[in-house]
Amino acid sequence: MTGSASIASGVRPQGWVRSYVGRLKTGDEIARLIALTAASTIIVITVMLVWNLWTVSAPTRLKFGFAFLWTSVWDTNTGQYGALPYIYGTAVTSLVALLIAVPLGVGAAIFLAELAPPRLSDALTFLIELLAAVPSVIFGLIGIFMLVPVLQSSVVPSLKAVFGFLPFFQGSFYGVSIFTASIVLSLMIVPFIISVSREMLLAVPRDLREAALALGSTKWESTWQVVVPFARSGIVGSIFLALARALGETMAVTMVIGNTPNIKATLLGAGYSIAAKIANEFGEARGEVLSGLVELGLVLFALTIVINGAARLLIIMTTAKGTK
């Protein structure tokens, strides 16, 4: 289905014009132009989005430069804007969420792709996809009213009893905290890790499994020593994809993180994230405050774009390897 432009080369100008008018009359060219317009609209929207973030954030971007990223005072009265506590909160919640979600997600993906009978695997994958469709505000609701009481009454006291000597589990726990936000985030990203990793494992060529089994390895040995290493970069890609989602997640985090800018080693204290800061303070923002918040959005955008790009590259590498 190549476009009409390709016939232009080597044809006399008169003939080119005539065939173009012919295509216009039959409607082919009009249809192509409409499709082209819609496709161009996407480029315009994306460029406008990036341009807008860049220009609206100009006042604080020019005033503070890169110091915006590593100073930690955000005071609208004195006109100081430092993003460090928010970047810290976003990074820590996302990383702790990955620590929980990766073993869980990859384990489940291995089960679904390699070990479960096909019918059971399809049914369970369907449920996992439904879990991925649950809106984030619902996760926030569950986080506030169900997870917080459970953490407060049983999970955190027992964690403190066992790991209390670690700096991560010191200080008092009031329910909303970086730890709570991490757990909610981990539940939200698990379905993405499972479904992408499962696809990656299913893309591993059949002969590899059969060869491993023929050499006398058990089902688990062929899975763990042959199939998983083959799909490794794709699985890492799925983890990056999940990380990008966790970084940009707003509502569920805003509802359970405590919304207090802190940079402390303990996970049990309240924190703040970039997305939560924007959601809470955008209300009637004007002037320099608006510029600072938009610059936070720009930082978030840059982070997710880099991580998404890396994820896509890793996934393409794996699928290309499988079809070679």
Partner: protein
């Protein structure tokens, strides 16, 4: 080890059932006919409903569909039927870029571009969600059109149809079921989006008065009621959460069943 991976799966799936069960128990008991017909109760009074938020969500989603679906669909047709040029790969790259933008950032951009000129309301909210719908609409349309066998296109052309008639009367109808289900999934995804609406749609306790006046929407109401102080607000949040989740999951189940019927993946 086999056992352990099974345990991982059980944990992940049980999260869905815990959420469903909890919302069903809490939300189902808070739900009443009032919820669908009344305005929110004034502060201090109990009862009331979210009729304005249900209408507001509908209004915002309608505008989002009118923006996201046509642009995404036609651009998807372009990528599948007219591609081959370098331009198509630029469009694909931009689509992926747009798909990766966090929803709150879309809200920020819609705020600076629309809200600063018109104020909060369904117009700004619909534009924000419409932009979010575009990338998925493009990719699902392209995927389903590409799945149509080339022989169908060749058959239509051999019978004398020109390119756009081939696309319009043969290729698109053949892929229609998949494309429609893809659009349903897309709509269900943005229906639960809260962060962009928080910045663009605003909040209101009354019936909506137009496209540029603040409007209540279900996800934003869930958020504000859940973080609010009174027990009665929490009950409203549960009821609204129950309604929203039921709708989103229902659409998902229907659309996924339509897609998977008749399609057998080789394993």
């Amino acid at each position: 080890m086999l056992f352990l991976t099974g345990v991982c799966t059980v944990i992940a799936v049980s999260v869905l059932f815990v959420i469903l069960g909890y919302l069903f128990a809490k939300g189902g008991s808070s739900l009443s006919l009032q919820f669908f017909t009344n305005l929110p109760a004034p502060t201090g009074e109990t009862g009331g409903g979210m009729a304005n938020a249900i209408l507001g969500s509908g209004q915002v989603l309608l505008l989002a569909t009118c923006i996201g679906v046509p642009i995404g669909f036609i651009a998807g047709v372009y990528l599948s039927e007219y591609s081959g040029a370098a331009f198509a790969s630029i469009v694909r790259f931009m689509t992926d870029l747009l798909n990766g933008v966090p929803s709150i950032v879309v809200g920020v951009v819609a705020y600076t571009l629309v809200v600063l000129k018109t104020g909060t309301g369904p117009l700004a909210g619909g534009i924000a969600l419409g932009i979010m719908m575009i990338p998925i609409a493009v990719r699902s349309t392209e995927a389903f059109l590409r799945a149509v066998p080339t022989s169908l296109r060749e058959g239509a052309m051999a019978l004398g149809a020109n390119q756009w008639k081939t696309i319009g009367t043969v290729v698109i109808p053949a892929a229609m079921r998949g494309i429609l289900s893809g659009m349903m999934l897309n709509l269900a995804r943005v229906a639960g989006e809260t962060a962009p609406l928080l910045l663009t749609a605003g909040l209101s306790m009354y019936w909506n008065h137009g496209w540029t006046q603040p409007v209540a929407t279900l996800p934003v109401m869930i958020y504000t009621d859940a973080v609010g102080p009174q027990e009665d607000l929490h009950r409203q949040a549960w009821a609204a959460g129950f309604v929203l989740l039921s709708l989103v999951l229902l659409v998902n189940v229907i659309a996924r069943t339509i897609i998977s019927r008749g399609v057998h993946k080789p394993r």
